[in-house]
Symmetry: C2
Subunit: 138 residues, 2 copies
């Protein structure tokens, strides 16, 4: 059994994070020592690794909560459930990327239009573009 600090160290997360996850029903300590200290077993370690990996592919803690309920009772869920869950996330990510690509395109236009010199910004094309409706697409 690991104490909270040991598990945190092993996973490179903070003890605060572990307590935060417990408070938010993602992962409870396996048990408590006589002195009240949290104790975690190997399974808890694996669950934390699951959470960390799920975060690594973009799932939010809330979504991970959903994944964990499925993981806990796999027999009550189908591959279709898991796959559509993941596809939804992918769609979300794609939407966000599209939005950022749009920002990127506009910002590149702005950067390209500005001389970047040390003179006064009174003639700056970036500011003009943001001031005038049309300037940005010119």
């Amino acid at each position: 059994m690991y104490r909270i600090g040991e598990l945190a160290e092993k996973l490179s997360v903070s003890t605060d994070t572990l307590r935060y996850y417990e408070k938010h029903k993602l992962l409870a300590a396996t048990s408590r020592a006589d002195n009240g200290y949290r104790l975690y077993n190997e399974e808890a370690l694996r669950v934390m690794q699951f959470i960390i990996r799920a975060k690594g592919v973009g799932f939010s803690l809330n979504e991970i909560n959903g994944l964990l309920s499925i993981k806990i009772d796999k027999a009550s869920h189908s591959c279709a459930d898991v796959k559509s869950f993941t596809e939804q996330k992918l769609t979300q990510v794609n939407d966000k990327i599209a939005e950022l690509q749009c920002f990127k395109g506009s910002l590149e236009l702005l950067v390209a239009a500005c001389c970047g010199g040390e003179e006064e910004a009174t003639h700056c094309s970036i500011l003009s573009a943001l001031e005038n409706v049309d300037a940005i697409n010119k």
Copy 2:
């Protein structure tokens, strides 16, 4: 002069948003009517359009605050200032896109690996991948 509701309507934002921007020093009402109502002039309208456009290219309200201070006193700033500000934002956006592309790639692998059938999720490759360190890169 526009009352808050008129300006909000014209710009397709909520009156709450306008009050929020005032509270956060982005745009104060031009003046107040005798009854205490906020009044906005054409310049305020243009400033709001500036804010909206700046949001449209990805700037946060905090960053827009910075842009507005430059806009208000262009003579004290250079094109270099504005350009580097914009370039920083672009870098930030690019970083975020890269992170999301990474999520996207992983999610696509996961989706591709899962059969998506109606059987029990006990054999689901998505869950296995999140459970095992190595499975995700296989």
